[in-house]
Amino acid sequence: MNTTERYLVGVFDDDEELLHAVTDVKTRGVKIEEVYTPFPIHGLDVAIGHPRTRIPIAAFMFGCLGLVCILSLISYTMYFDWPMIIGGKDFFALPDFIPVSFEGTVLFTAFGMVGTFLVTNGLWPGKEPKTFDLRSTDDKFIMTINMEDNKKTEAEIESILRNSGAIEVNVKQF
């Protein structure tokens, strides 16, 4: 991890104010990295302008992978490697394979999605948590601005944040 990452952290008191501040700060040309809130706020993701999550696509892919894997496994074991007659059915008795294929699809999808989520959010085991302000889990709303992404000086950004209603602006380094 880059140890010289420098952030400006705006602390807000009110969710409505925060929502306006996000638009305000953005229109003044400051790039917001993330906003942390104690509870979900409707419309916040749209206001920040985050691209839509691609996790459903990952889920679909993992589902397809699961289906193919389980169908391959069961047809290899039950048809190619050691054909078995069960209940007088064909060796390749597709209806019998469907429940396990379904379960396999669900299993791969679930684990794949959780794995993707953890990896894309940098939540692997042993990871140092990046805590900007602990009060974002209580009653404050936190807006973080990565200085690397912005050309403006810290003083400029701080005044923009304060004008949009931030009650505190702190510097945080990781």
């Binding site: 409707h42 419309g43 459903p56 209940g87 059915k89 209806p95 019998d96």
Partner: protein, 451 residues
Amino acid sequence: MAGHSHFSPANVEEYFEFTAEGRKKVLTALVIGIVVLGVGIYMLMNGNHEEAHAVAGHAAEHGGHAAEHGKEMLSGGAASHHETAWDPLNRLWANLWLNGVYFSGIAVIGMFFVSIQYLSKAGWSSVVKRIPEAFPKFLLFTAPLLIGLFIFKGDVIFHWMHEGVTVKGTEHYDKIIAGKSGYLNFTFFLVRMVLIFAAWIGLWFMMRKKSIEEDLIGGTENFTSMVKLGTGFIVAMGISSSLSAWDWVMSIDTHWFSTMFGWYMFSSWHVTGLAVITLTVLLLQDKGYMQYVNANHLHDLGKFMFAFSIFWTYVWFAQFLLIYYANFSEETIYFLERWEGHNKIYKATEILNVFFNFFFPFLVMMSRDAKRTPIFLKICCFFVIVGHYLDFYQMIMPGTVGDHGGYGLVEFGTIIVFASAFIYVVSHELTKASLIAKNHPFLEEALHHDI
């Protein structure tokens, strides 16, 4: 409207107007349906079976095929029992029964949907709830039709009503059916049927009255009593959905039974009802109504349809798999009859059934964008509605008309008549109350619905 932070109920009242032009269109469709049906009946009566079977592409060779083992023992009876005296009109009665059951289901699911919303105290649905609330009105037409059909033509539809099947020593005596006659007999069946319809229609009347009253007086009292009515209806539906499935559909194939059948038919009804609700909302939006219903509400309706398409598949497959796996001839005959019996005229329906009702909605409705895009939703609703008609077709037809079935003018005529009657009745009922339940306690929440 969703943007208003100060909400005034008076602003949102909106009445659907069933214009003269609209009426004319629906009635024209109804007349066309009746004409098609009339021509179909005429062709049946004149024994032009090849015409009637045109779509299925098979000319039935009556009596030419020795019945396979099991076809005899399956109640699919009509074909084997009436082989000598097949009345072509039987196909009409079977079609009326099929559409009666199918449309009763759509109608009652309207009430079920509203009840579920009240029971779970859901907010989002309060903007669309007037649509499903209008559906059960159609029960007032299908109930007498089905009861009348049962009383006068029951022996055409139900194997267990055939002359002498329960009388020991007679030619048609059937030990299995005689054993079931404690449950499947004329009086008890009729009592159940009347009670089911009475419960559905009665509870709906009370709910509808409370709902319209709420528009006038406001407050939360009506909401509370509708929660109670909805809860009562869910209990009633829990019993009556299974009873109606066993009675009206499963008992056609009297020898056969499946413990999944109640769920199976209910899930088929449910997803069709959801598709009709969604389609109605979308069509009303096209006409300029219900602009307060936004992509988020459509998304929820789409999720409902997607989820319950999969639920239907789950139940359908659960029923199929156990029968396939256990391989008892008295059970597998149900699927064998549909797959390769009756000169294979039902095979295409079986395939389309799974395609329309599972693969199509599953793949098309999976993405978020599809559920939020009206055109995708409309296409899917159409497929689901047609698909579940086919589902009911393959539940009812093989046991009632057997070899004499197919897709002919009678089938298309009956569908057009029922569909246009349904549209007329529901449109008329929709005019009676504001499309938006303006005093619903959760309306504010619904108008700002965001997912």
